[in-house]
Amino acid sequence: MVSAVAQARPAEIASGPHRRVRIGRWALNGAAALALGFILLPLALVTWLAFFRQEIPSFPPEGYSLQWFGAVFNNKSFVGGFLLSVQVAIAATLIGLALAVPASLAVTRRRFRGRGLVNALLLMPLIVPGVVLGTAIYVFQIEAEIATGLPLLGTTAGLIAAHALIVIPWAARLVSASLAGFDPSIEEAAKNLGAPPWTTFRRVTIPAIWPGIVAGALFGFVMSFGNLEMSLFLVGAGRTTLPIAILQYLEWKIDPTVAAVSVLQIALIGVAMVATDRYVKISQVV
């Protein structure tokens, strides 16, 4: 009987379930390639465009040149916008993390009344459209200025405060995800070995959820850096973030300078991701 089964096998492989599995795998790989192409195509086109020689983008290119990259660095509003964006994104990321890490700890570890509500609120900035958020914060900052007399609207501090809001959901989500996979008895073990709560947090909890914190910081930074809709309401006169500088430039010109500045942005974020992934395996969290 054993040999009969063994003999039946090869015929089955040629026509039966094995072949269906192979077709399925091809279909899956094909769909994945299609999706990836869909995502990468605009990036590839923008990158190509940045190297065109002619001022008005048209196909096929008349030749290639690096002049537009030079134009980026000679453009004051791009350089100023970049510096402001980096400054705001770093500050907002730090503030966002300082709020999101304790909040995630509370939401994943503690059982308290209104826990679900707090969890929902942490994700809220992700759900509310940027324009709505921008309008609301704009109105709030005006009212706050009137009430307190402190300058808020149009200041870097006001912009950072608003950007911290878009960092929070990303940081909270990713830190919570890494906390969920973290055995609480590991913290108990630390306490049992003589570590008070703060030492336990610093030496055990933080290192264990570090990939989540780094990934949250990276995503928060990228979201803040690229934010346009909300920032439009909140920047002061003559001080713009990079996305706003790009928008303003596009109102008058459509030369490849904009493509060049986009390529620089993509490269910056790409390098940040690759560099971070070398030290912390973000792919484990995201």
Partner: protein, 348 residues
Amino acid sequence: MARLELNHLSKRYGDNAVVAGVTLDVADGEFLVLLGPSGCGKTTTLRMIAGFVEPSGGSAYIGGVDVTYLRPWRRNTGMVFQSYALFPHMTVAENVAFGLEMRKLSKTEVVARSREALRLVRLEGYADRLPRQLSGGQQQRVALARVLAIRPDVLLLDEPLSNLDAKLREEVRIEIRELQRQLGLTTIMVTHDQEEALIVADRLVVMSEGKIRQIGTQRDLYERPADRFVAGFVGRSTVLQGRVIAPGQFETAGGLALQCRDGAPGKAALVLRPERIALGVANGMDNRLSGTVEFVSYLGDAIELHVRLSPADRVVVQLANRGETTVPAVGDAVDIGWQRDAGLIFAE
């Protein structure tokens, strides 16, 4: 290494008493096992000793010092967790050194004592590995080394073997017991596995519903169980329902008249250990009965027969496997017997 005393230690959540007054005195160097089904309060008791659960009442003393409300990091207990709870981002050596660093020992002493602890669990060559690079059994030994390094007053083991496969479990429990004896560590282990408990313990505590049912040696629990719960939980047993009709006389629900130990007249249960019932030659037995084999389990070292004595009474008989060629089969008529003292009587 110290003596541990619990006095009426209890834990309530609202109206629910998870631990309802546990009193224990564990001698210096003794290995005590808390045994019971899940939800009996054994783990909560252990966690109160470690300081992770604040007692609702009673007191706990380690080495004569009141630790009832002392924070976990201020008492010198060493706990091995079911999940091992190793620090995933630290190497084996760093894991073991952690407790010593918390004690602010000098660097040379930290290194010396970590190395000594790893040597005790035979993992000297693994100091630079990360926990995820080790097998379950090795991780378990790192967790043990980590608490041995701090030389705890009391070693606490929370189902330390339940994540290991059966073969490894047998090795590791003997290893733990030998280490404990060698180092003279006062040890409390929690388990629901009675075999494990019987092998390692000096004394056992059987718990159910937050209360201690019995404290004693293996022999005490097996030969003189305090109640039917203990009799049923420790070792295998058959229960015959019925009543004591006169001193030393038991009548089963199926109408069998049996001789038994003295017990108060009235409704009762007769508990029999399977290996105390003899098959065949029933000469000199106080109780001699015949019945039909309904089920046979061949266990290797032993053979178990389920024998029907009356429509309402069935007993399990265990025979040591000495290589006899004829083993009763299902449907065979057999004679069985037991001495009157073999049965335990519990009033219902």
